[in-house]
Symmetry: D2
Subunit: 359 residues, 4 copies
């Protein structure tokens, strides 16, 4: 945790607004960050970058922003020309770490939305991401950016690894059970279903509209990169080693993740105990809503909320939990802004108060 | 135009916030109003009503609002218990006018989102809505709530008839042509396509998911009630009598209207002239974006923007224009809030600045 | 098993075509039966019934059949006026058994597509369907109509209980594991996802298009009626008592079910063993395709195929299997026709040879 | 019209089945042809070709065909190794004509599904397709493959230019009006809406699922290549020169086209006259269903039917017609098989009798 953070913040707070930049602004996560930062009352979005599209206005590429936010994309190098407080990295995995290595954390704090700093060791990273980590020294310095788990660490961190979309939905669906020692940490099965924006903005055969429309399928069985992230993070709050069976599926919708988990209790429990564990754990959390019926994706669309439902099946002796998030919000840009608010000492929900878009 | 308006406003402005209510809060338009008013910095939503659901929290019926806006629904009668500045009527056609008749305009101003005060005579109303108008005296007092057409009148009105969704998309796509005397007002063909929220929140056979999914069709040919609304309003700015051929279609999406219009010029024109007519007409309009390619519904989703494109086909000698709106926003609740801002002397875009949700 | 079956069949085979009827022809299952029976070369669809719509042509209610199959709907009583070989019951649960009780099996054989004869005891039925069974004596006589499990019994049965949609996808995804004694029958978790036609043809709030579009959610946790069906049927081939954790979800598509199962092996196994178990078990099955990648719903749309994938996760020690069917075909009408073919001694795939509709 | 046709046919008819091939079998049209030809009782699909995928089984690329039709893709050159009666060209525009030039019509008849032989002159072709026609001599020999317009010519032709999808829906929606001299041939406006399979099987940015989902837009205004095709073909049955305003839109569904047309009568007409014109014109047509309400895409999905509705608006004096087809069936592969049936002297609906897939 960089000592310098607090000092910088105090200094900045005297100014009217914090200055931030988005690196890699043309992907889905970048555009969602722009949508949120544009409205944020305490932040000024000073620079947005793109290597391949530099010189164009973001609104040429994303006409929804036409007349709202027409800033020109700049090359990444220009980051140095602005006295930024914080930079969001919306870059691909395995590219993001190069930026961190090159720029360090002295000039600005970083929230990295890729997977490059989420795992707790270079060895684990290299196993699942199949590339050598270029700056393992920063892994240790980084905080995992899930406020519900890690609020204080995030506040004081100069490098925040913003969680993956599936891990966010999964960890929030399991945290009270694992931290509370309620379930066997080896028994966890996670069946997740995500909208197609989770696959990124580049057209692929399986994301071609006629191939997705009316369709549904699993992918990445046994080997999805979010598996070690879930295990690492939940492992930090588990008494015993934890292992998850993680199976992602692709839903024919644009936004949203619904995650269903199954696990085995390790002590005598009942419905009430399970629900209370969730109600108590998330009592003060603004963005986690513990509800009494299975959540739906549309009830969180466009918002930073995570709806969670937990139940116990007496017949089978299993705990079932279900969570719903918007993968681009609580699963990416929304949570990044929540982290930024913490890092800047702002009210945590600032700029994230828009209710879900339903219908 | 009620003389009292200005006086009341001045008085209110001394207070911290304007007080408003939503009558008929459980339909799609009502819920969308709540979503917007909840965030509006200068407004306090004092009461929401529902006859059939009074006593329940709105968030029980619309769980997307859980923990955000949990206000209890009250019976309509309670309107009188709050010192409201303005009431939004999100009631069905033919019901809304009863409220106006019963409550009048002395206690609060009204924005009516139904069709009951949009046409300019009781006779025309009775022909298309097949019911006697219960308070024709208010028709004359009412302003048609399209700021781009009618800004000053709205400001000073105590009863604003909020435009229909199809008429909004159609009128904005034709206004510069009709007002500019560019096209033959008898030649207008309007081919509109709307998302299913336009059909309301009550399940019907044709809105049953399996019947709409992968489907598309026209309906209400020749007889849709929005036809006289379009003709009446465009007629007020046309030199000669105007008649439109209006054909609505139902799109298998939730939100959005795209309207394609065809018309015949009445003088020698070219591409540039047509485009300039639109650029000039909407130059100072915040919510109408004149763009240089055909608009898409997703670029306005969840926002109050209307994207408009106009072109001239030299080969055929026809003008083609296309507009896109979110039917629940610029086509209903968004435009209602825009009107409210005008009526309260607020900045017109207050509370409507959220960029479209795309992707 | 009625001894009379064979005799009747021999007699019928001399005629040109078998005569069949569909009772309850206006629901989704009824219409799908008509679509299939209309094309079947060896069958004549003599009568279709509907209590509420008798007197109307089916093509008035289902215009896709206009000019193709315009037969008039008759009241159920008219069944007796036709010398039918077989009647399909496409009636709701708890109604179907009344027909069987009233008509018996002497005049024609019956394939019942409801849940009324799928469970093996009236007691179990009454527990899950919350109604007394009106003719428990027929439960014993009935055969569970899944040819891959039960071919010979079906051939000779006069009353076939056509499987439920979820059970079909689940049982086919687990049969080689359970019958082969490969997995712990207490460890089975079934996470299913179904298109909305599975919820029937009547509009409901949760099937209203705007509520489903872009949405996804679980429902019926712990208590879905297909749970005892899966347990009963798989239990018949299991060495030890079997129990499943069954969680259905609703997909925003019209047709199709994808089922993901998780289970624990009870002996040392590996990937090859699991895959071979499926390849061997289904080697001669025309309608079950064992494939080497996760199946997709669209690859079976409109067809009677069930695609199955099985794998073993060495890391976690779990078996995962995934199946995909069209819920109206292999999950209802298609399987019913497959059963009919068996009962009539026809080639099993007769009338079911149309490839899936993809794209 | 090739004299040789009849002789060849007579010869072939003595054999059990006609032999056909599909060139360019991996696109959407190719796969749909396979789906239909596989089931056709009088045809043997001898060869399917692909330049880039030769050597692979079609079912590897299109797993819906797994176990149903696993034939290997061959290079185009192998066409000569089979004694084919007819070859379907499912190649891109501007490529198809090379095949015709190279192979001629002596060895087999050709149905070309591209646009290369649809226009009536090389000059017109070159203007709209921006490429020199390599074999203009074949243009004259070719028949436009719309049986409802051209049945006899098709029967005797050796080269059939299968109509475009938009033109099919448009021409069928206008034929009775134009041929009957009912409308002003200069007044025709065509507002068409197509599913995304119409854009082909290659992923593009605008067909990326998140960009299409919940979206809708117009494209190709004023300049779409189907414009001259519609004008050419309708022009052949029009007394006076015909010109259409054609505007295509992209629907967020996989299959289907709905076309709405507007035109001006040139004589006194009424509702009855218009409807009778359609009923009479299509009285004997199996695949055109004249219906008394606006058609829907889902009522023709997966079938070769075209549903047409025609009405007259007395108020405005305009004729409105609406047609619905499945773009891959009546708009491509289905119509090609219908043409093949004619060319082979088979019953026209052979192999095309499957009812639409609805729901």
């Amino acid at each position: 945790m960089a000592k310098g953070s607090t000092k910088r913040d105090v200094e900045r707070r005297k100014k009217s607004k914090f200055k931030v930049g988005v690196v890699g602004a043309t992907g889905y996560t970048g555009v969602e960050l722009i949508r949120l930062l544009f409205l944020h009352p305490d932040v000024s979005l000073e620079i947005i970058t793109s290597q391949s599209k530099a010189g164009k206005k973001i609104s040429e590429l994303q006409p929804s922003l036409e007349g709202i936010f027409d800033k020109e994309l700049e090359p990444m190098e220009n980051i140095k020309d602005h006295e930024l407080d914080l930079v969001f990295l919306a870059l691909p995995h395995r590219v993001s770490m190069d930026f961190v290595k090159d720029h360090g954390l002295d000039d600005f704090r970083i929230i990295d939305l890729s997977g490059d700093f989420r795992l707790d060791s270079a060895t684990l990273y290299e196993k699942w991401y199949e590339k050598e980590h270029v700056c393992p020294e920063y892994i240790e310095q980084s905080a995992y950016g899930m406020p519900e788990l890690n609020r204080d660490t995030i506040r004081n961190s100069d490098l925040v690894a913003n969680p993956g979309c599936y891990p966010t939905s999964t960890i929030l669906a399991l945290l009270p059970l694992v931290k509370g020692g309620i379930i066997d940490p080896k028994s966890v099965i996670v069946d997740s279903k995500s909208g197609v924006t989770g696959a990124g903005a580049s057209p692929k055969t399986f994301t071609h509209f006629p191939n997705q429309f009316g369709n549904f399928f699993a992918y990445g069985l046994k080997h999805h990169r979010h598996t070690p992230e879930i295990e690492t993070i939940l492992g930090t709050v588990s008494n015993d080693p934890l292992q998850v069976q993680f199976t992602p599926h692709l839903l024919p919708i644009d936004r949203g993740i619904l995650t269903t988990t199954y696990s085995q209790p390790i002590k005598a429990i009942n419905e009430e105990l399970v629900q209370d564990a969730f109600l108590n754990f998330y009592e003060k959390e603004h963005f986690v809503r513990v509800i009494d019926q299975p959540p739906t994706i549309k009830n969180v669309r466009g918002s930073n909320y995570c709806d969670v439902y937990a139940t116990y099946d007496e017949r089978t002796g299993r705990v079932i939990t279900i969570s719903a998030i918007d993968n681009l919000m609580k699963g990416a840009a929304g949570q990044a802004v929540q982290n930024m608010n913490l890092m800047f000492g702002l009210i945590e929900k600032k700029g994230l108060e828009s209710p879900p878009l339903n219908p």
